[in-house]
Symmetry: C2
Subunit: 348 residues, 2 copies
């Protein structure tokens, strides 16, 4: 099995995606190729020995092989023809825009490339936090109440807010741009900050010390494979080492101290979210538990380094998953309608 890890792209989480790929190189036991999408969305095949932060921060990646996308895969330009880069499965490791908003999914579906990652609909639903709420409601999973403030709709900004509350840009799949407001005097400044990132802003009540639990998983041949349940580190601003440790299996994660009943309930909620929309992706769902009720906080359809640190036997799960991915239905076209026109008057 040869995997090609796709990372980078035009995203606020471009640099996190690079870290995520470097970590995956260490923890995924398989033959790996690294395909970097730079901020201009040009693709480069990065030599494995050069998979370190400096290759990117110094722009040295530009000396690596340029690739282009065509039917069936990535190709390297050679003097006479294009040479296909052989791989069995791509892994979408682009976080945030481009990777989690549906673009990479669309490219891979369009060009018939086998991949692990959220499909188009799943991406759009999880990338937009309001769509996530509408979807969760439809499948019977609770979320916190919310309001949407719109930069382009002044009346939406007049709606009174309860404090403390939390501001989230509607369409960033990460903690970027998130603000906690304790009182109304912070409103104007916080609106300015939030509207830097998106024209729509989701406001939720901020519940201090609410319990958070993360659960990752995927579905392989109609069976769910779950990670352990993690109670994440609440330090809001992780420094580099924490971020790195967060993504790698070197930090030993303790299973959260929860009753079997609550663990089972979290899994039931995960299943409702996952099946069938997220088939093909290994996702992490972040839940709140408040007064024994479970609420979905957000869906990470491409979690950092695929949340490898939450799984025992990560490499074999990925291998099994890669051999059982869903495919888009191909439509056969036989031109029967156009053939039927021939000879008719009004011929096109």
């Amino acid at each position: 099995m040869i995997y090609a890890i796709i990372f980078g792209a035009n995203s606020y989480e471009h640099e996190i995606s690079i870290v995520s790929a470097i970590v995956l190189k260490k923890v995924l036991k398989a033959k790996l190729l690294f395909i970097f999408c730079d901020k201009n969305r040009d693709f480069y095949l990065i030599d494995n020995a050069k998979m370190n932060a400096k290759t990117f921060s110094s722009l040295a990646y530009k000396k690596e092989k340029r690739l282009i996308l065509k039917q069936g895969g990535f190709y390297e330009k050679t003097l006479f023809s294009d040479k296909k880069i052989e791989c069995d499965c791509c892994i979408n490791l682009v976080h945030g825009k481009d990777g989690e908003d549906g673009k990479i999914a669309a490219l891979f579906d369009f060009f018939n490339i086998e991949y692990i990652g959220p499909r188009l609909e799943a991406s759009v639903i999880s990338y937009n936090k309001e769509f996530t709420k509408l979807y969760a409601q439809k499948v019977g999973v609770k979320t916190l109440p919310y309001k949407i403030l719109k930069n382009y709709d002044a009346t939406s900004l007049l709606s009174p807010l309860d404090y403390p509350c939390i501001f989230k840009p509607t369409r960033l799949g990460s903690s970027i741009g998130i603000q906690i407001l304790s009182e109304a005097s912070q409103l104007d400044y916080s609106l300015d900050v939030a509207f830097e990132f998106d024209d729509e802003l989701l406001v939720e009540p901020f519940i201090d010390n609410i319990k958070e639990y993360n659960l990752a998983g995927c579905m392989i041949k109609d069976e769910f494979v779950f990670s352990i349940i993690e109670e994440p580190n609440k330090n809001k601003f992780l420094d580099f080492e924490q971020k790195y440790l967060c993504f790698s299996s070197h930090s030993e994660v303790q299973e959260a101290d929860l009753s079997e009943e609550l663990k089972e309930k979290l899994k039931e909620n995960f299943k409702k979210i996952y099946n069938p929309l997220f088939k093909g992706a290994l996702i992490r769902c972040d839940f709140f538990i408040h007064n024994d009720e479970i609420y979905l906080n957000e869906i990470n359809p491409n979690p950092g380094s695929l949340a490898n640190y939450l799984f025992k036997d990560f490499s074999s799960i990925i291998q099994n998953f890669a051999q059982n991915l869903p495919h888009e239905k191909q439509i056969n076209i036989n031109y029967s309608f156009l053939h039927s026109i021939n000879g008719q008057k009004g011929k096109l």
Copy 2:
């Protein structure tokens, strides 16, 4: 202004898209290029003189110039380098899958190509008829009540139905696969037919002789441009000539006989649906009116031949629109996070 019309692709409406493009050639007064996406999703630049049905049904298109997609546009391969096809604006005229499900939008956004057509989120929301209903409800537009039957969930199939009802594949943006059931004896056969097209099936009450009205429009510089309101031909199965006439301005469409008040209400509903999700697209909304209430039936984000026959002065609207299209926000990446790592212990 040079437009490139993109049509075809891997869709049940592949052939309709070809007709749609041929019609647009006759009605859009401008310099036009025709880029055909075949069922394998290879791109061809079709000579204008060859834009007729036979070029496609005979597979003669394969002798035309092959194009590839790269940053900034479509390119023709030449012996030494790739030559860019010069155009000012692409028009997404792919109907159904690929064109209206978000793939073309994703390709054009990813490769920084200017285009008329629904953006990624708008595509996913309008392509999936259940998401359309959730979205309509959110923006305050009524739709008919519905149930979802799922091929992968036997309990969903046990839910009793009221007859007559109408079956619609959840994810086909057209009249393909739609069935009217008058009694329960038709259920098994109809389920088999429906699940040929999609794993999810939307069921609505069938209201005989419900009034239908179509309204097309777009937003140019914060101003709405509306078409006339049409009461569409109710013949369900259009033959070739009707389909052709339907898409072309040669058939003179009469404005529907509606009070000014109802016309205004239809426009208000259109605005709620359109703004801001559908910015960049010229869409047609199909509404029902029943007991003086307005219901959204469906959104056509790429209507046949851009619903040109509903507009006076179609060519100048398109020109004005093409000069005022929305663009995706580009994110600047300066590697400050990776730079901050240099020198830290635990260097990547």
